[in-house]
Structure formats: C-alpha cells, structure tokens
C-alpha cells in the first residue's frame, strides 16, 4: 500500500493543477504540532521543526497566513500542486543575487529556480573547496552555502529524508526512522500490523490533505500520533508534558511579550518623569514588573526545554544580558529609589530583545545540542553566567552614562541630576567589575579543568580581560584627577565598546580561538552603527559641555578605602 501511496503521488503530480496557495480552512494542526521529531541531534515537537525550517527558508515565522506546520506538510504532500510556482526561498544578499544572475529587486524565489542554478553550484563548490583547505570564507561564500542549505532543507522535506518521525522502540536517544525510510521500505523494527496501519493512516491523511478535506483530516491526523506513540514507540516516546511545554514556548513567545511590555513601561515612565505624574510612574513600574516576570518565565521555560542554562549562543546571551540589565537596574533602584535607573536600563533591554526577536539569521533562536566541551559542567555554567551578567551591569552603567551625555546636551544646568547619575553609574560598574573579574577567573578555573591550562591567551578571554582593564583604567583614572564629571561619563561609556568586542566581536569578527562554538556571522552593520552613533553622541555632548562652561567638572565618583 505504500507503493500505492507513491503511485498516487505520481498520478497527482502528473495532472498538475497550479493553484494559488491557500490556507486550509477548518484543518486542525494541534496533534500534528505535537508529533515528536528527531532533528539535528535533539527530540523536539514537529511544531519547532516546522518553525525553524520555515524561518530558515523564508525568513518569516509563517508564510502568507499559513502556519509553519501547514507549510511543511504542504512541502511534503503537495509540493507540485501548491509550492512549485510559489516564490518562497529568500535571498537578501545583493552581491549573491548578482553573482547568481537572479533578479536583484526580488526577495523571494521559486524552489526550482534556485535548485537548478548552475551558478549556485559553482559558488558552493568554491566555498566548500575553501572549507576543505580551511581557508576563510568570504561573506559571499557563506551566503551561497546558506542558500544551498535552504534548498537542501526544502528538498529533504519533500523527499521526507529529514522527517525522522518514526520512533526507535529500543531507546529514545537512538536514531529514529524517517518517513523516507518508511516509504522506501527500509527495514524498521515495528510489528507488521502496526507498520501497515501507520501506512494506511498516512495515506488517508495524505489524501485528505491534498483533497483539502478538513473533516477527514481532522479525523485521521490525530490517529497518526496515537499510532506512533502507542504502537510503534512501545513506551519510548517523549512525554506529552515536554512536547507541550515546547509548543507552548513556541506559541507564547515570551520574549516578544517582554519587549512589548518593556516598551510600554518605558513610555509610561518617560511620561511620568517628564510631567512628574505619579499615575504614569506607577503604571510604568507595574508594567516593568509584569514584563520582567514574563521575561523570567520565558527563561525558565527555555531552561526546562533544553535542560541547561541557556547561555550557549549569541541569541541566548542577548536575551540573558537584557534580563540581567533589568535585574541590576531594579537592584540599584531599590537602593536609591530613583526611577530614572530602570528607565534608562529599559532602553538596552528593549534593543536587545527586539534584535533577538527580529534577526534570526544573526541570532539563531533555535535550541541545539551542546558541543562536547560544554556539557555537564558546573564551572562552565557559573563562569558564563558571571561574565554575561557583568555585561549586563556594564550595560546599566552605559545606559545611565548615555543619559548623562544627553543631560550635558539638553539640561546642563541640572548638575545635581548629573552627579546622581554618576553615582548610579559607578554602582553599576562596581557590580560589573567584580562579576567580570570573578567570571574571567572562573573561566580560567574551567579552562584549567577542561583544557589543562588556566590561561591560554584565547581571544575571548583576552578581550574579557581588555574590557576589564578598560574599566579598571577608568576607576584608577578618577584618582589621577583626569576623569572628573564628563570625563568619567565619557570613558565609562567608551569602555563598553570593549565589552561589545568581547561579547560580539571575538565571535563574529575575529572568528578564531577555542570559543568557536559561539561563532557566527552577520550583524556587523548594526554593531558598527552603534559604534559610530555612540562616538558621535559623545562628541556632540562634549561640544555642548565645553560650550556651557563644563558644569560639574569637579565631581569625583565616590572613593573606596585606599
């Protein structure tokens, strides 16, 4: 009967009826979403697989109103009829489009169009030759490889070779079987009756899907999961709780809600501060706490799903640092009761979360298994959490510093406010310095434990040290009398560039060293924009500061026992 399924596929393919891609009304997807799939070394709900696939190929989380799950099933069951003429493969990089001879003004292309490009084959061959000789890849090479991966991904869904939906009854963690294995009749360890039943239901589902028969689909699709779970898996199927938790995480999008809430909170706080209106201030604080709660909740969910503290790639660290930034702002606010502190910190967290939410090609939101050296290590966890939290503390200082730079421009007469902010900045820096020093040392402890040396001059550790040295230089600069008032503010803000380099630059620009598991590419234009704007802002602020007669130039941040 599986042969029949194939024949049917051919028959339907033959009488091609090209139609517009339409959402299937009345189709239920919840049981399909919660199918477990083994993908890239992890068991995950089909929902996650579909979202990751559609996001990777199209750059969007859904396609023309169709959910990712519906799109991926469409690729599998009705590609010829519905997706052959659909331009859905995204190519953004202009030099690549030029090199491949694609229409530069188009953003999306048909699958056949890209797959059959000889120019792409050549570009990919060039790039993989470079990979073989361990040469550095150009941006063009990377983008060509990425496009090839997109095509391969879609192809692997069409041919079902990536759909490892059939559980391994021996053990959950051993290789599962793909639908392609099933259709091509490779040996599977299932009982004949269950095996055939699955084939029958799959065929029914396929017919219902192609025929757009909602009732039949809704009747047979849930059976698929029941057979997989109860009859094929023999008890080795991921629990409903874990699958549903991840689906909930996918649907709820806690980090998106967090930044929306933070933005509202910021608006309310600004209104409250400008007009000194208590209602707005209270609303802002309430919104801030609720959003922080959602942010925290999202983090807990992600930890539970991946089974580890989620600070192993750039996306996770951006989300975590944004969280830490609010945390420290709240702590300093608790000590000094000045609402300006969380308001300033919100700017950083919102920026971080918005970037994380909208730049999936740079900040990959997928949850992937860890490389061996990062596994099950207590020191690693503490070390990374410490270092990234120090970034968060420095971010608070930077936000307050920028606020002060703004004050120098717009309200230079408020010397008291400026001096207050300098004190808050100093508190943020203190937290940052101690966390960064401790985190870097803990990194040494971990490196000693894992690699056999305490300090190996790895670029990541070196840049963490440079950032630390910058801040320590600022702290010492206060005593020389070089850094008073404006000088302290400007150098503190500049020191954050060291953090940006340690955090982003080492992984995305330098690209060497033992921390290679966090390497990525892209986003350089955003970082450079920040850099230029930051320096320009300092420049303008300095110009105004000199012009209005250097207010508060005798202020020195608090001294410690020396």
């Amino acid at each position: 009967m599986n042969a029949k399924l194939l024949v049917l596929a051919f028959l339907l393919a033959a009488q091609v009826s090209f139609g517009q891609l339409q959402k299937r009304e009345g189709f239920q997807w919840d049981m399909i979403e919660s199918l477990a799939i083994q993908d890239r070394g992890r068991l995950k709900p089909f929902d996650t697989f579909a979202r990751e696939s559609v996001l990777y190929v199209t750059g969007k989380s859904s396609w023309k109103g169709l959910s990712a799950v519906e799109v991926v099933w469409g690729w599998l069951l009705a590609f010829e009829e519905e997706y052959k003429d659909e331009s859905f493969i995204r190519v953004d990089y202009k030099p690549l489009k030029e090199k491949l001879g694609l229409e530069v003004k188009n953003q999306f292309f048909r699958f056949d169009e890209i797959r059959d490009l000889e120019t792409l084959d050549q570009a990919v061959r060039q790039a993989s030759d470079k990979q073989m000789s361990k040469e550095r890849l150009s941006e063009l090479d990377k983008k060509a490889l990425e496009l090839q991966n997109k095509v391969s991904l879609v192809e692997s869904v069409i041919t079902a070779t990536s759909l490892a939906l059939l559980p391994n009854p021996k053990n959950q963690d051993e290789a599962w079987f793909t639908l392609a294995d099933f259709i091509n009749k490779r040996a599977t360890p299932y009982e004949v009756a269950a095996h055939d039943k699955f084939g029958l239901v799959l065929e029914e589902c396929s017919l219902a899907f192609r025929g757009k028969k909602a009732d039949e689909w809704n009747r047979c699709a849930p059976t698929l999961k029941v057979i997989l779970r109860d009859e094929l898996a023999k008890g080795n199927y991921p629990s409903a709780a874990s699958l549903n938790r991840e689906i909930h995480y996918n649907h709820f999008r806690p980090f998106r809600w967090a930044w929306v809430g933070y933005t509202l909170a910021l608006v309310a706080l600004i209104l409250g501060l400008v007009g000194d209106r208590k209602v707005f201030k209270q609303t802002g604080v309430a919104l801030l706490f609720v959003s922080f709660g959602i942010h925290t909740y999202g983090f807990v969910l992600r930890c539970l799903i991946s089974g580890r503290p989620p600070v192993t790639n750039m996306y996770e660290s951006v989300v975590w640092v944004s969280w830490g930034c609010i945390l420290f702002a709240l702590m300093i606010w608790g000590a000094y009761k000045n609402i300006i502190i969380p308001a300033a910190a919100l700017v950083f967290s919102i920026a971080g979360l918005v970037l994380a939410d909208n730049l999936p090609s740079v900040l990959d939101p997928g949850i992937h298994p860890l490389v061996p050296v990062l596994r099950s290590n207590f020191w690693l966890t503490i070390h990374v959490l410490c270092i990234t939290l120090s970034y968060a503390a420095f971010a608070v200082a930077t936000c307050l510093g920028n606020l002060n730079l703004g004050m120098y421009i717009f309200k230079p007469q408020e010397a008291k406010g400026i001096q207050q902010n300098i004190l808050f900045m100093y508190r943020g820096m203190q937290i940052g310095v101690i966390l960064l020093a401790a985190g870097t040392i803990l990194g040494g402890v971990w490196a000693d434990y894992s690699w056999g040396r305490f300090w190996g001059w790895d670029p990541k550790e070196v840049w963490a040290l440079i950032a630390l040295l910058f801040y320590i230089a600022v702290l010492h600069g206060r005593f020389t009398g070089w850094l008073k008032g404006f000088g302290f503010v400007a150098t503190t803000v500049l020191s954050f560039l060291g953090v940006v380099m340690a955090w982003y630059g080492v992984n995305f620009v330098l690209g060497v060293g033992l921390h290679s598991y966090g390497f990525g590419s892209g986003g350089l234009s955003y970082v450079l924009t920040y850099l230029v704007l930051q320096i320009a802002f300092i420049g303008i602020s300095y110009y105004r500061y000199v012009k209005v007669g250097k207010p508060g130039n005798n202020y020195v941040a608090p001294r410690t026992g020396i």
């Binding site: 083994q38 993908d39 890239r40 070394g41 992890r42 068991l43 470079k130 000789s133 361990k134 040469e135 959950q172 051993e174 290789a175 599962w176 009749k185 000590a335 298994p369 061996p372 050296v373 596994r375 099950s376 290590n377 300098i422 203190q430 101690i434 020093a437 040494g444 402890v445 000693d448 894992s450 690699w451 056999g452 040396r453 305490f454 190996g456 001059w457 670029p459 070196v462 840049w463 440079i466 040295l469 320590i472 230089a473 010492h476 600069g477 020389t480 070089w482 060291g498 080492v506 620009v509 330098l510 690209g511 060497v512 060293g513 033992l514 202020y555 608090p558 410690t560 026992g561 020396i562």
Partner: protein, 615 residues
C-alpha cells in the same frame, strides 16, 4: 632619586598608562591571532620578551602602589588584598611560563607512548657510530618557539667527548616562521642528467586534471591511475624500448563471463538450504528429509514487466529473477509458487493457489545474486590507456591512445602547447610542460598570512654545514653530511620530552548526538605503565575529566579515526608548577575587590543604616 623613582612606579598615572598599554598590546595580539591563528599570536606577542616586560611594568607598578601605602590600615584591606592578588597571579604566570610544560601525546589503541611533543624546535646533530665506536653521539640546539634563530649564528660541531675537537661548523642562514613546502621541478643544470618529467593536462568540458609524470630511471615508467584510464610515461632508452612502445597493445578486456545463475536460500521446516539455481532448472529436487521438493520453473536473467507479463529482456544478468515451485511430497495440490528477485527482494511474491482450502506450509525463500555480477560492477573492468614516451635523444615526445575496448584511437608526435584528442569522452590531452631531464628544487616559500588561521604552520631553517651547499630543512626533516671524515646527520624537528612512565591506550570511544554523526563525547581508557610502581593504574580520560599522574595532567584533546586503522587519541599533557599560585592569587584578588567595593565603612553605613548617600 630612589624615592622619586619609587614615587613614579607607585603612581596612579603610571597605572592608567600601563593598563591602557597592556590593553593595546592585547588587542594587537588578538588581531594577529585572527590572521595567523592562535599560535601566531603566541609567537608574535605572548612569548616575546617585551610582552613579559609590559607585564613586569604592571606588576612593579602594582607592587609599588601597595607598598607606598605601608603601613596599611584596616580600611585598606580590600585595596591591599586586590593588589597582592594580582602580584601573586603574575608570579604564578611567570612560573608557568618558565617551568611549565605544555605538549601533546599521541597514542594509538593497544599501543603505548611516553614521548610528549612540545612546541619548541630543535636542531639535533647526530654523529653516526663508526666501527670503532659503540654508540652515536648527539649535540642538541633548542630553538624556543618564540625566538627566531639569529641569522648567521655559527654553531661549532663538537661532540661532548673531550678528546674531540671541533669537527666543523654549522651556520644558520635563514629561518622562515611560516613556511609552505614547495617542490619545484626545474631543468637540470647538467644536460642529460636528471629525470624525464612531463606535466600533462587531461580535460573535457566537465573535468580537468593536471599531473606531473616523472619517468624515474630505476622504475622506468611513470604510471598515473585515473580510474577509467591509465597513463604511462617512459623514456625510450634503447631501440628495443622503442620497438616495444610502438608495438605494445593493452590486453583486450575479456567478455563478461557467463555468470552462474545465483543461489536459492530456502528455509523450510526449521532447516536451511543453499542451492544453486542452475541445478534446479526444470527438475524437482528433494530437500533432504524435510519431505519437501523444489524446482526452478523459469530463470530470467534480466527480468522486466512488459504487457503485464514478466519476461527477460536479454541474457545479460542485470536483474536476475526466478520462478520457483515448492511442493510437499508429490501432491501437486500442495504446491506453492514464488517469484524471487535477486536485487529487489522486497518484490518477492507468492502466487495464489488453485485450492485455497488447504493450509499453507511455512517456507521462506530468497535468491542470492550470482557472484560474478558483483565483481563486474566494481573496478577492474575495461579502461582506456595512454602511453607517452620521450625518445632516446630527448628531442621528441610520442603518444598512443587506446580506448576501453583495447582499440587504438590515435597515435603520433606531441609537443607542449598542442592539444590532441584521446578518443575517450571528448577528453583532450595537452602537454603543459616538458623537462627532458629535471631535478627537484626544494625551497620552502614564506607566507605572510596562512589560509585557515588555525592551521598549524611549519617552520623552515636554512643551514650551511662546512663547505657544503646550504640546504633547507623543513620541520621533521634531516640531512646527512660528512664532517671531518665522519657521517653526521642534522635533524630539525619539534622538541619532545620523555615522561618517566608510559601511557597505554586500551580503547578510544566517541559518542554521537542521537541520530547524527556529530561527536558528543570522547573517552580514552588508558593504563599508566610506571616502571617504578608495581601496580598499573587504569584510568578513563574524557572531555572535562583529566587524569592526574606524577604531577602531570592528561586531557582529552583530540583524536584521529581512520577507517581500517586503530583509533589514535591525542592527549594534551600539562605540567604547571604555577597553578597553585594562580588560584591563590585569584582568590585573594576577588576577595580584595569585594572588600574594597562593598565592605568599606562608608558604604556599609549607607546600606545597613539606611542613610541616604549624598553625591
């Protein structure tokens, strides 16, 4: 004067300066790392004397700053501890740099090794034993990784035996820190002396290949195996060679042997039989005592379905199939019929019976493909041949090209730059370069920036021994000279260290992520074989789980898995006498910073007393 110097070194201004200087140097080092890899930054910055100087300046500054406030008051505890911690860390780092060992130990499964490869380089001059002496004598010159050997450095070749005077000299002429080995073929300076060499290109619009062919006089012929074709090149030294060249013909490939018809595997009544198909055609054969009989009704070498019927398209055994009958006793009503496919067992079918009322009997059949067929599918079928030759007077080149069938496609003269068709798959032959007598020139090339920043690079050194012409030595190479009438070998290689015990690798295992080939864990099961200990220590080394033995730490660093060969595990070996100091310093420094920031009396008052801090 001294006081002024002390004041200078303890000043905060110097602190700011040295902090920024260190930052700049470190930033530069990471740039070098990005271009030349981690080793590149080590060599360029971290192991240089002046980098030590920068750290020393910082250390001195920290030390003087701490001392300048002596006698210390309690409120300065944080400050003093922080700076003391930094000094201890720096001292620890110095101890590690000076006395620590960092290297690699490679060991294969079921083997042992004690040689740890280090990063430093070494020139070893070995005097071979002569008849009158018992052992070889050695002289070693260590070249630390970070120290470029001074060009023009002269080493006297003496052996530590007092009786011997300097036997000769060795001069280091040049050193390349990043070298790429390059073998260039050049025309021999002496006419007629050298190896005939030819660089050919074979290309069509889909593929292109360029190779050197060297007709080594000892082996006579150079042979290049290209899969579907074989190319040879020789020099026709004698008229006989010439005659053979023009008359030789590749063997005609034998026609595909008529294969046997395959083997039937029969499972019946708990017994298993393997029967040749050719023995069963159209005749019943009893299956020993089982009571069953079997017969092959039809044999189809190339089975296809045409007009709804199964027929054989030709005698070529491309898709062997059989129709088989099995019966119990002589009862024709008790006959089961099957169609079996050798290459597509999933299409095997059982016919319906006329009389369905009687129970079926349990019999399982399958058809094994003929043996011959499998061999034919592999290599060793027919190939094209291209014979190339250079005449005895070194003035002309000839070629002869044969097709896969063994027929001559074309032959004649060929000259560099001229293209001739080979007759296979539109492939054209072109002679790119022809050196009738060539010699190899070995001169490594120096590269500024290595492709693949993390690729380890080789170094090369050019030495001149006595009056011999100078030679290049790449890492791992050696050359023999005759110095003062004695054979001396100069070797250039990585320095190594012998452990006082052996590490024996029992087993290496790699775990993968579920459903993928990605490595998830590496584990080496080792035994420490220490001659000073009676007991052998067994240990498991895995990622993040090192072995500590005799002051040395062994970490799982890397591995090599080659199919068909024992697994090789690479262990990082580390001996670090500065470890304790670094940990201690770190602890003290962190404690100090905490005290300084959060336990100073003023700050405590604000937090504990709820007093408002005024800015």
């Amino acid at each position: 004067m001294l006081k002024g110097l002390f004041r200078f070194f303890s000043s905060v201004k110097l602190a700011v300066f040295s902090l920024l200087l260190l930052s700049a140097v470190l930033a530069y080092a990471t740039m070098m790392g990005s271009f030349y890899g981690m080793r590149g930054s080590q060599v360029a910055v971290y192991q240089r004397w002046w980098f030590g100087g920068v750290l020393f300046l910082l250390g001195l500054n920290v030390f003087c700053a701490a001392m300048s406030r002596y006698p210390w008051k309690l409120r300065q505890a944080g400050f003093v501890l922080t700076h003391l911690g930094i000094i201890i860390i720096l001292v620890g780092a110095f101890v590690t740099q000076k006395y620590g060992i960092d290297g690699n130990l490679q060991v294969s499964e079921m083997q042992q090794n004690r040689e740890v490869m280090l990063n430093d380089l070494k020139l070893t001059i070995v005097k071979q034993a002569t008849d009158s002496e018992e052992s070889t004598k050695k002289q070693e010159i260590i070249i630390p990784e970070s120290h470029v050997p001074r060009e023009g450095k002269i080493v006297e070749i003496v052996f530590k035996d007092k009786s011997e005077k300097s036997a000769g000299t060795l001069v280091v002429e040049k050193f390349i820190p990043r070298a790429v080995p390059e073998n260039q073929m050049i025309m021999s300076p002496t006419k007629g002396l050298g190896t005939p060499a030819l660089k050919i290109a074979l290309s069509n619009n889909r593929f292109r290949i360029q190779e050197w062919l060297k007709a080594d006089p000892q082996e006579k012929k150079a042979e290049l195996n290209l899969g579907p074709a074989i190319v040879t090149f020789q020099k026709l030294w004698t008229p006989e060679d010439e005659k053979n060249f023009w008359s030789q013909k590749p063997k005609k490939p034998e026609a595909a042997k008529v294969a046997d018809k395959g083997t039937l595997l029969v499972d019946v009544a708990g017994q298993r039989f393997a029967l040749k198909v050719s023995d069963l055609i159209n005749q019943w054969r009893p299956l020993e005592k089982s009571g069953f009989e079997i017969r092959v009704d039809r044999y189809l070498p190339y089975a296809v379905v045409e007009n709804n019927k199964l027929i054989s398209r030709s005698a070529d055994p491309r898709n062997p199939a059989t129709e088989v009958s099995v019966r119990k006793g002589k009862d024709s009503n008790q006959t089961e019929r099957f169609i079996l496919f050798a290459l597509m067992p999933e299409h095997n079918t059982q016919y319906k019976r006329k009389d369905e009322s009687k129970p079926r009997f349990e019999v399982a059949l399958s058809l094994m493909p003929p043996q011959q067929e499998q061999e034919l599918m592999g290599v060793g079928r027919s190939r094209g041949r291209l014979y190339l030759a250079q005449n005895s007077s070194d003035s002309e080149l000839f070629y002869r090209s044969f097709g896969a069938s063994g027929d001559l496609n074309s032959e004649g003269k060929i000259a560099p730059g001229k293209k001739v068709p080979t007759g296979w798959m539109n492939i054209e032959l072109e002679v790119k370069e022809w050196l009738p007598f060539s010699v190899q020139k070995e001169e490594p090339r120096s590269v500024e920036k290595l492709q693949g920043a993390d690729e380890p690079f080789l170094t090369a050194i050019k030495v001149k021994v006595d009056s011999y012409p100078s030679v290049w030595l790449l890492e791992g190479m050696g050359k023999m000279f005759s110095v003062g009438g004695k054979d001396v070998v100069v070797q250039y290689h990585r320095d190594s260290l012998m452990l006082p015990f052996d590490i024996y690798l029992d087993k290496f295992t790699m775990g993968t992520n579920p459903g993928t080939q990605q490595a998830a864990s590496f584990t080496s099961n080792v035994t420490v074989k220490d001659p000073n200990q009676d007991e052998q220590k067994k240990a498991v080394i895995s990622m993040n789980e090192p072995l500590k033995y005799g002051g040395y730490y062994f970490y799982q660093a890397s591995y090599q898995l080659t199919p068909g060969e024992p697994a090789v595990s690479v262990l990082a070996v580390n001996f670090d006498p500065g470890r304790v100091l670094k940990y201690l310093g770190s602890l003290i420094m962190t404690l100090g910073i905490s005290l300084m920031f959060y336990l100073n009396p003023h700050y405590l008052k604000v937090f504990l007393g709820g007093q408002k801090e005024t800015a």
